[in-house]
Symmetry: C2
Subunit: 256 residues, 2 copies
């Protein structure tokens, strides 16, 4: 925005400082000391102290007995309202999907260049955990991500591949041209897969959740051990069935 500095150290307005303190937990989920918080938010200690005290008093932060701060339940409670329509509507069907397949089931949306995991269902058995609820992964490395990207407008896809693509494993597809044609294939077939592209040992398959207006707003997918990758496509009908059930909720969300 501004030509010189995009934001002065710590931000300028009070609000931005308070938000910077919250943002400190984006990188490290665990509890942080006041000093750590002040550092991460790039604020002088006294300022951080005052703001943090107010945030904690309100319930946005909580303090443990060691005096460290963590995100508070009141904030969590309020934040549950973000995209509630979608999450609430999808949840029971995602549960069905898990019951039917017994494989880890995911719901994700696109946030910038990443897939944001909105929900995730898994039991105590299968846990090849790469993603987590509230976590992000690069679009081109995951099945849900590929779906979300494939159904985006052409210029979004082009802009995406124009960047330097991160490769979590040796198998990750990072070649721009080949990635683009893979996306074309996904749009035709109506589903995407990955084989050890996020982490060795696991593979995944995903389908789009149609928003009704032609746009794809979300994606659901399954993750399993890569030894069972041949069995993957068998789940397609189930996945599509579940996606169809979720779709109405997605389209209701953001209606005229």
């Amino acid at each position: 925005m501004t030509p010189g500095e995009q934001d002065a150290p710590g931000g300028r307005t009070v609000t931005s400082k308070a938000l910077a303190l919250l943002a400190a937990f984006e990188t490290s989920p665990g509890p942080l000391s006041l000093t750590q918080l002040a550092e991460r938010a790039d604020l002088p200690l006294p300022t951080a102290h005052r703001l943090v005290a107010e945030l904690a008093g309100w319930g946005a932060l909580e303090r443990d007995e060691q005096g460290r701060y963590a995100v508070g339940l009141r904030l969590w409670e309020i934040a549950q309202n973000a995209q509630r329509e979608l999450r609430d509507a999808a949840r029971p069907y995602l549960q069905d999907l898990f019951s039917l397949t017994q494989e880890t089931a995911h719901l994700a949306v696109r946030e910038g260049h990443e897939a944001l995991y909105i929900d995730r269902i898994y039991s105590s058995k299968r846990v090849p955990r790469a993603s987590r609820v509230g976590g992000r992964l690069p679009l081109h490395a995951t099945a849900v991500g590929k779906v979300l990207l494939a159904f985006e407008e052409p210029w979004v896809r082009d802009a995406y591949v124009a960047r330097d693509l991160e490769a979590p494993t040796r198998q990750t597809h990072v070649n721009p041209t080949r990635l683009l044609s893979e996306l074309d294939g996904i749009r035709e077939q109506g589903y995407a897969t990955t084989h050890e592209e996020v982490r060795p040992g696991s593979c995944s398959i995903a389908v789009p959740v149609d928003g009704g207006d032609g746009r794809v707003r979300a994606s659901i997918g399954l993750v399993m051990l890569s030894t069972q990758s041949d069995r993957m496509v068998r789940y397609l009908p189930t996945l599509r069935g579940v996606a169809a059930r979720i779709a109405p909720a997605v389209s209701r969300w953001r209606a005229p």
Copy 2:
């Protein structure tokens, strides 16, 4: 602080105003117009406008095409870190609990005078929905709530029953003395039940999740149709088994 008013209209500090805007979504989850937000936060329109713009710019709020504001995904993402240890640890076992019983499964903690629902697992079949994730219900009306209250220190229990107890249905137990002795019974038996005390047609059973240090920090429970209330206690062994699996995680959380 100040002798007269405890807080001037809208709060005093900038931070408190920003937080008041977020708090507006505590009561109504859906999207709100600027005017509604300003009203609920008790702020003059221009002030609300400025702050809301900053919150939205950061991602704490999102704007739909009608210009209304809702809680943003970035805030949700950060807030996922609240009590993450507990939620992440409990999730797979809660899933097991659901798989074994096919009944709606809950995880709750105490927040003041209410049970806060941390997680909830259910399929598309059984949905006698009273609670929801991120929602609250009075302690004395729910099974998880009774458990949380029963294992609290005596003075907490006494303070609780000393208030006017809300009664969602005719069946809700509101008599202080009888409630206290019911709680004693729960502590002895190690589980609590309800019969149509939250809403007609459903009943529930819950057990404590021990924090290791003797304190009970969470509770898990099942909700089902009240026609099956006789079948309820059969689930006790399962519930206790699952609770035992979750316990280690609860005790790890807030360790010295």
